[in-house]
C-alpha cells in the first residue's frame, strides 16, 4: 500500500502494453549495436588469456579454457618489451599534458571569457580557427624547429606545445568561464586581488568540474596519441605504450597473446577512468557540442 493522496492509494502506474513493446524493441536494437562495439574489446580481453594457438583455433572459443593468467607476468618481465617502463612513460606523458592543458587553457579561457580587452573576439576567433587546421600541415616546420633546438628524442616537443594552450580545450573552458558571475570577479577586484589571484583563488574553484573534464579529455587523448611519439621518439625506453605496443607487435608478429595482453593492460586504465567519470565526460561533450 502506497501513500494516500486525497484518499486514493498511490500505486505505480502500469506501463501500457504498446509502450512496453516499443521499449523492448528499442532496448534490443541498442543492445545489438552495443554488442557490435563491445565485441572487439571482448575479443581482445579473452585473447589476452589464451595461447596464440588458441586464439586462431577453429571453432572459435568464446572463453579461454584454461585461463592463461601467466600471460600477464610473462609480458611484464620480457626483456624485449619494457612494458612497465613504457606504461610509466604513458602515465608521465598523459599526466604532464593534462596538467599543462589545464594550466594554460584555463588562463587563456579566463582572458577570453572573463576579461574585456580590445581585439578579444578577433583573437579568440583566430584561436578557434586553429581547430580547422590539420596538424599535419604544421608538422614539418614544427619538427624542424624542435630538431634545431636539439630536443628531438625527448618529451619536450610532445608536452611543451600544450603549455601554450590548445584551441579545443580553450573553447571548451571558455564556455564554463563565461558562466561565472562577473560580480564575483568585481568583488575580488574591490578586495584588492590581482587578475592572476582572481583567476587562481576565485574563478578556478567555480569551474573545478570543467577543469577535471578537460584534464580527463587530455589524458585520454594523450594516452592514445601515436603520431607525435612516433615522430619525435626513437628510443624504445622512452616510448609510451601506444607506440611501444605497435613496435612490439610489428617485431613479434606471431606473439598475438602477448600483444593482446599488452593491449588489454593499456586500455584498462582508460576504461576504468571512463567508468568512474562518465558523467563528467558526457557533461564535457554536451558543453563543447563538439566531437
Amino acid at each position: 500500500m502506497g501513500l494516500l493522496r486525497g484518499g486514493q492509494p498511490l500505486t505505480k502506474r502500469r506501463t501500457a502494453p504498446r509502450k512496453l513493446g516499443q521499449s523492448l524493441i528499442y532496448h534490443a536494437v541498442m543492445l545489438a549495436i552495443a554488442a557490435v562495439f563491445l565485441l572487439p574489446f571482448y575479443w581482445m580481453a579473452i585473447s589476452a588469456f589464451k595461447t596464440t594457438d588458441e586464439i586462431f583455433a577453429r571453432p572459435v572459443t568464446w572463453f579461454p579454457d584454461p585461463i592463461h593468467w601467466a600471460n600477464v607476468p610473462d609480458l611484464l618481465t620480457r626483456t624485449d618489451f619494457p612494458f612497465l617502463r613504457q606504461f610509466f612513460n604513458s602515465v608521465f606523458y598523459a599526466g604532464s599534458v593534462a596538467a599543462a592543458v589545464v594550466f594554460s587553457c584555463s588562463l587563456a579561457a579566463y582572458s577570453f571569457g572573463c576579461l574585456r580587452w580590445r581585439g578579444r573576439n578577433l583573437v579568440f576567433g583566430l584561436t578557434v580557427c586553429a581547430l580547422l587546421m590539420p596538424a599535419i600541415v604544421t608538422f614539418l616546420p614544427v619538427y624542424l624547429g624542435w630538431t634545431k633546438l636539439g630536443l628531438n628524442g625527448t618529451y619536450w616537443p610532445l608536452i611543451a606545445p600544450y603549455l601554450l594552450g590548445d584551441a579545443f580545450y580553450i573553447f571548451m573552458l571558455r564556455q564554463f568561464f563565461m558562466g561565472v558571475p562577473r560580480e564575483l570577479m568585481d568583488a575580488a577586484r574591490l578586495d584588492g586581488a590581482s587578475e592572476f589571484r582572481i583567476w587562481w583563488q576565485i574563478v578556478l574553484p567555480q569551474v573545478r568540474v570543467a577543469l577535471v573534464i578537460v584534464g580527463l579529455f587530455a589524458v585520454v587523448y594523450t594516452w592514445n596519441e601515436f603520431f607525435g611519439p612516433l615522430i619525435y621518439l626513437q628510443d624504445r625506453e622512452k616510448f609510451p605504450l601506444s607506440l611501444g605496443l605497435f613496435t612490439f607487435q610489428a617485431a613479434r608478429a606471431r606473439e598475438w597473446s602477448a600483444v593482446m595482453t599488452g593491449a588489454l593492460i593499456t586500455a584498462l586504465p582508460m576504461v576504468i577512468l571512463f567508468l568512474l567519470t562518465q558523467r563528467l565526460f558526457r557533461q564535457g561533450l554536451a558543453s563543447s557540442s563538439l566531437k
Binding site: P181, E183, L184, D186, A187, A188, R189, L190, D191, G192, A193, R197, I202, P205, Q206
Partner: protein, 349 residues
C-alpha cells in the same frame, strides 16, 4: 569618510554614449540614491565610481583625491552587489576576511575586525557557514559585512535589495538606514524602486538616458519635479500629465475646462497633478468626466484609472472604501495645490 565629486564624467561603449557628462557632488556622510529606469546608466555610473568601469572623459574625486585612474581597491570604496557576489567556496568568515588579507593585515587584526563587524550585523553565528547554507537575507547581511569590514570612505550599493522578498526588503532597508546613521558613512545606493529611494535617501539623483535629470531631497523631487521626465517617473502611481493651453490667467484643458492659473504665459503647456490631488466629486462640481477602466484596491486606498471622452487617462488616489466599480461614470475634481506646470520644452515653468 569622504565626499565624492564627479566632474564631466562620460562613458562610451563603442560609439554608444551611456553616461553623458555627469557633474555631481555627494557630500561627506550623505546617503544619495541613484534612481532611474532600466538602462539609464545608474549602475554604470556606480561602477565607474567603484573603478570597475573606465572613465572615458571627466574625473572622479573621493575625499578630495583624484581616483579616476586608480584601481578599485585603492579608491577606498566598498560595494554591495545585487546578487550578493559572495565567494561560494569560502565561509562567511573568509568572505569578510579576504579583502583584509589582501591588504596585508595581520591575522589577529583580521580576526578582530571580522568579529567586530559580525557582531555589529548580528551575523556571528553565520561566520562558519558557506553562502549556499544561508538564506537570501543572511547572504545580503554578510555581503554588507564584507563592505563594512574594510572601513571604506564610500559605500556603494548596486540594487542590493532586488533579490529579496518584500518583508526582507523592508527589514534590510531599515538596517541600511540604521547603518548609515551609525557609521555616518558616505553611501551611494542604486535602485529602480522608488520606495527605497524615497525612504533611504538624503538626496535623490534622477537619471535618464545617461543624464542627471534632477538632484534633490525626496520631497523636492516629489513635489517640485524639474521636468516632465521626473514628474512622470517619481511617484507611484505616476503624476497625471495633462496637455493644456495657457493664456489670460487660465489653463484650458483639452475637454474645454478652464482652470485659474494667474501669470501663465500664453502657449502650450503640460499640467502635472499628483493622483492624490484628484478626487471624485458631484457632477455639478466636476472638472472632468470619464469612465472607470480599472480599480486597484490597496486596502486603505484605491487607485482608480479613468478614461476621459477625448481618450486621455487620469489616475486618482481615492479612499480605500470608495464605491466606484469598473464601467462607472466618474466625475473628477482638481485640487491645484502643488500642481506643476511644464513648458513645451518639458521644463518646469
Amino acid at each position: 569618510m569622504g565626499a565624492v565629486q564627479l566632474t564631466g564624467v562620460r562613458k562610451l561603449f563603442g560609439q554608444l554614449e551611456v553616461i553623458k557628462g555627469v557633474d555631481l557632488t555627494v557630500a561627506d556622510g550623505e546617503l544619495v540614491v541613484f534612481v532611474g529606469p532600466s538602462g539609464c546608466g545608474k549602475s554604470t555610473l556606480l561602477r565607474m565610481i567603484a573603478g570597475l568601469e573606465d572613465v572615458d572623459y571627466g574625473d572622479i574625486r573621493i575625499a578630495g583625491a583624484d581616483v579616476t585612474e586608480l584601481a578599485p581597491a585603492r579608491r577606498g570604496v566598498a560595494m554591495v552587489f545585487q546578487n550578493y557576489a559572495l565567494y561560494p567556496h569560502m565561509t562567511a568568515y573568509d568572505n569578510l576576511a579576504y579583502g583584509l588579507r589582501r591588504a596585508g593585515m595581520a591575522r589577529a587584526d583580521v580576526d578582530a575586525r571580522v568579529q567586530e563587524t559580525a557582531a555589529l550585523l548580528q551575523i556571528t553565528e553565520l561566520l562558519p557557514r558557506r553562502p549556499k547554507a544561508m538564506s537570501g537575507g543572511q547572504r545580503q547581511r554578510v555581503a554588507i559585512g564584507r563592505a563594512i569590514v574594510r572601513k571604506p570612505e564610500v559605500f556603494l550599493f548596486d540594487e542590493p535589495l532586488s533579490n529579496l522578498d518584500a518583508s526582507l526588503r523592508v527589514e534590510m532597508r531599515s538596517q541600511i538606514a540604521r547603518l548609515h546613521h551609525d557609521l555616518k558613512a558616505t553611501m551611494i545606493f542604486v535602485t529602480h524602486d522608488q520606495v527605497e529611494a524615497m525612504t533611504l535617501a538624503d538626496r535623490i539623483v534622477v537619471l535618464n538616458a545617461g543624464r542627471v535629470e534632477q538632484v534633490g531631497t525626496p520631497r523636492e523631487v516629489y513635489h517640485n519635479p524639474a521636468n516632465l521626465f521626473v514628474a512622470g517617473f517619481i511617484g507611484s502611481p505616476a503624476m497625471n500629465l495633462i496637455p493644456a493651453t495657457a493664456g489670460q490667467g487660465a489653463l484650458t484643458l483639452p475637454w474645454g475646462t478652464k482652470l485659474d492659473w494667474p501669470g501663465a504665459s500664453a502657449g502650450s503647456v503640460t499640467l502635472g497633478l499628483r493622483p492624490d490631488r484628484l478626487s471624485l466629486v458631484a457632477e455639478s462640481q466636476a472638472q472632468a468626466t470619464g469612465q472607470v477602466t480599472l480599480v486597484e484596491h490597496l486596502g486603505d486606498e484605491s487607485i482608480l484609472h479613468i478614461r476621459l471622452a477625448g481618450g486621455a487617462s487620469l489616475t486618482i488616489k481615492a479612499p480605500g472604501d470608495v464605491g466606484a466599480r469598473l464601467g462607472d461614470t466618474a466625475h473628477i475634481g482638481f485640487d491645484l495645490t502643488n500642481a506643476a506646470l511644464f513648458g513645451p520644452d518639458g521644463l518646469r515653468l
